[in-house]
Amino acid sequence: MTEYEAVIGLETHIQLNTTTKIFCSCKADSWFDPPNSNICPVCSGLPGVLPVLNRAVVEKAVLLAAAMHAEIQTESCFDRKNYFYPDLPKGYQISQYDKPLARGGYLDLPLSDGSCRRVRIHKLHVEEDAGKTKNERGRRLIDFNRCGVPLVEMVTAPDLRSADEAAQYLIRLRQLLRWLGVSEADMEKAHLRCDANVSIRPKGADYLNPKTEIKNVNSIDAVRDAIAKEIERQIREVEAGRRIEAWTLEWDEDSGKLRKMRSKETEADYRYFREPDLLTLHIDDAWKNGILKNLPELPLERRQRFMEQYGLPEYDADLLTGERSLSEYFESAVKAYGGDPKRVSNWMMNDVMRMLNESSRTAAQLQLTPEHLAEILKLLDSGTINTSTAKGLLEKVDASGKAPATIVAEEGLAKVSDDSAIRRVCEEVLTENPKEVQSYKGGKVTLIGWFVGQVMRKMGGKADPSLARQILEELLR
């Protein structure tokens, strides 16, 4: 049997998180708002109104273009893309056609085998979104809120080779968008949208076969599933001696099936022409440099640096650079701590990240500052508190915002290492539990841990557990 490889390209639309829309001053994000509540004469296309370009859109797009290593164009133009649809108020979409904001560029994907897949993009352009239509009880309802919401469109070259790589691309892109602060990049909320072009060919071949386009995929898992299904289908078809036709397919999330939407016999003619209501967009060096001043170190660069500078394993570095504020948190904590960065990493991956996940916050939203974390680690290192106190302290600091040392003092959490105090409690525990003492003496020595636990409970967790164990063993002998 022939071995096949998939050839996949992704067309992505990214909703920029500007406050206002691209050509008017309406609020851009309407996720929580009722239909048609964020519209005005401009974005709903009333007669005689004109678009005025929102500079914040350009600035966010330029930042993204730079992060994608694309070449930002000093001159770019807006064009009208003409088609009739009820949710397209003007009958044309203002987009960029032959003179986009940026050209070229790529995103590198680290693969599980340690290699890297470079996924190229041809161009990056900005455009306005259209509205939403839905059919309800035989009526067609239109919500124009989304009209004029700023989008960036990026189309990749057919550089992806598996469903998993396609998913990886979206994960890395989402990470980058949030890192840059240019988009909320939530696929479920359509901040990040993706259509996939899929074809197969014998592994190692250098030609392209006819492709199908998959639309309506609303999550990264759905992209992975839909592409995997389509690759399987294409292999089956080819193995059965049938030809792949250039269909447009729709992903049905509920059934997990692809449905044919239409055959792609002819390309639509959008009759693009220059938007006469907008001037050529000039991005001069001063403006560009002003924007790029805010370009942060990118996630993959930081990941690499964490491995080199802090000696972190790839796994740790990857996790800690998953989100920008988390990586900044880590670095601040390492700096404040001054000790082994791996120790900080462990505490962050085990405890801090659990706290973030449980409360769905980002590191920047924690009351527990990196300095607090460092202080707790130092208290632990100096033997002032034990590990379980330290873990409890993380939550207490985060809840109160108080300094760890303050809480330790207020609540008397410092570890008790006074032999006589612990001995007294140990004796109490043994007196109160004669049955367990008998079992222990009868050979069930694993009960020692249970006795230690009882001592710790009585002492509010403040006892030095190793000392308690030592005394208990001595008393039970």
Binding site: P47, V49, L50, F84, K90, G91, P276
Partner: protein
């Protein structure tokens, strides 16, 4: 001043002086015009919508303001109490805006065009919305879905177009001034046909916000009045940068007043040979040449010049304007505003609404434009037209290295008869051959009366200037009007 006839004869400048002195009340003035409109409207049909209640309310407020100001000595807005008619292609908040089309029959904009708002802020009183060819597509006002406007000089003739309602209303003294729009000659040609003064400004000098788009890269808002001095005054309150129009230009405001000097020494007037072609009505050529000679006698230097790409202006315009229009008019789909022709599905709803509610000329231009932009034809038509447009623009740039203004006829003939070109769109398009180049080049143009033909119909002359050269055009026309009487003639046929 009780004789209404006298009041409607007042120019803007004179009326303003009378209002300020208290010799005349704004209510009196507005009533005089409303009465005249009521009397003449059945014969001329210059308006689509009249706004008498609004006008009288504004007039009463203006009178109160004048009274207060006379007591307190405070200043009043520069055009307080001046009646104005507005072409029905410009939005006035709360008043129906049809654009001469059934497809906007019930459309009431919630906003005012920037230029309208500026004039309202300056104190004008709006009498109504004037008739226009549907979406400004036409040269006779015959393409209005609300009936044809008639020329006050001879009601069997057209007033020109597309701002025919505004031009006719000014000529017939139904208003002292009116706004128009000019995409290919729609202010200048009707000004010429009706014997009034009409300015098409430099592209970008007056905001297009609230002007319902036809050919966006060509559309301008202009103004009609009976004298160049009035046009200059109004224009000074129309121009200026608008943050709501990205193509508007931040250029110093024009001066509201023209000096009384009549010496044109050092002014170089270019006469382009391409505008005096075979087929031009001899009386038009004669009157324009006589006017040029008149300016020469006042000290101007007249030089023959060439604008070699003039002959391409017509085909270039009829590719670019319809192409832009095909997109600009796509929004009239019956979905969000305007009447809707119901159907079983959305495609039929679009087709029925547009098919039944757009007029023939609008559909013709939408089809022309759609074709010119289509895949496989773009390069040969729209793309090529853009290149030739650049050449036409360069013709003007070169010419303005040699001369200060260009003098030419406005149209090849005087006002033609209603129905004369009804079955021949090409003959209608030819009406615009002398006015299209200024739109393609984005330069200002001014039309004003310089004579009459044997039928007693006015002949206009056109002056074109370098970008932002409106003041030069207005000054020349003003000097001409200080020394001639053509602009003082009144059409008597309608009374």
């Amino acid at each position: 001043m009780n004789d209404t006839r006298d009041l409607t004869n007042l120019t803007v400048t004179d009326a303003l002086a009378a209002l300020r002195s208290g010799e005349l009340s704004c209510t009196e003035l507005v009533r005089a015009f409303l009465e005249r409109i009521e009397r003449l409207e059945p014969r001329l049909h210059a308006f689509i919508t009249l706004t008498p209640e609004l006008a009288l309310r504004q007039a009463a407020a203006a009178d109160r303001q004048y009274t207060r100001a006379r007591k307190s000595g405070e200043s009043t807005p520069p055009l307080l109490g001046i009646p104005l008619a507005v072409k029905d292609l410009l939005a006035l908040a709360g008043v129906r805006c049809t654009c001469g089309s059934r497809i906007l029959d019930n459309f009431v904009p919630p906003y005012s065009a920037t230029v309208v708002q500026r004039l309202l802020d300056a104190g004008v009183v709006v009498l109504g919305k004037t008739n226009t060819d549907e979406f400004a597509m036409g040269s006779s006002t015959e393409n209005s879905a609300y009936g044809v406007t008639r020329n006050p000089w001879n009601v069997k003739h057209v007033p020109g177009g597309s701002s025919g309602g505004s031009a006719a209303a000014v000529a017939a003294r139904m208003t002292p001034a009116a706004l128009g729009t000019d995409t290919g000659g729609s202010v200048r040609q009707p000004a010429s046909f009706c014997g009034v003064t009409g300015l098409k400004p430099t592209y970008g000098r007056v905001s297009r916000f609230g002007l319902v788009a036809y050919g966006s890269s060509l559309d301008t808002v202009g103004v009609f009045a009976r004298t160049a001095a009035d046009v200059a005054l109004l224009f000074s309150h129309m121009a200026g940068f608008d943050p709501r129009d990205a193509t508007s230009v931040d250029f110093p405001l024009p001066l509201p007043c023209l000096d009384g000097k009549t010496n044109l020494k050092d002014v170089r007037i270019g006469v382009p040979q391409e505008y005096f072609i075979e087929g031009i009505q001899p009386e038009v050529e004669g009157a324009v040449k006589a006017a040029i000679t008149h300016l020469e006698k006042l000290g101007a230097v007249v030089l023959p010049i060439s604008l070699p790409h003039t002959e391409y202006a017509l085909p270039v315009y009829y590719l670019i304007a319809p192409a832009e229009a095909s997109a600009n008019l796509a929004r009239y789909d019956g979905v969000r505003f305007g009447p809707r022709v119901e159907a079983e599905n959305i495609l039929d709803l679009f087709c029925n609404t547009r098919g039944q509610l757009f007029g023939a000329e609008v559909k013709r231009r939408i089809m022309l434009g759609t074709y010119a932009l289509s895949a496989g034809y773009y390069d040969a038509y729209y793309g090529q037209a853009q290149k030739v447009r650049t050449l036409i623009k360069q013709d003007f740039e070169k010419a303005f290295e040699l001369v200060d203004v260009i003098a030419a006829p406005v149209a090849p003939s005087t006002a033609f008869k209603i129905g004369e070109h009804a079955d021949d769109p090409l003959a209608m398009y030819l009406e615009d051959i002398f006015t299209l180049p200024a739109n393609l080049a984005g330069v200002p143009g001014l039309a004003f009366p310089v004579g009459f033909d044997y039928q007693g119909l006015p002949v206009g002359m056109q002056l074109m200037g370098a970008p932002f050269g409106e003041e030069m055009l207005l000054r020349l026309a003003h000097v001409y009007q200080q020394t001639t009487t053509w602009h003082l003639q009144t059409p008597t046929g309608v009374d």
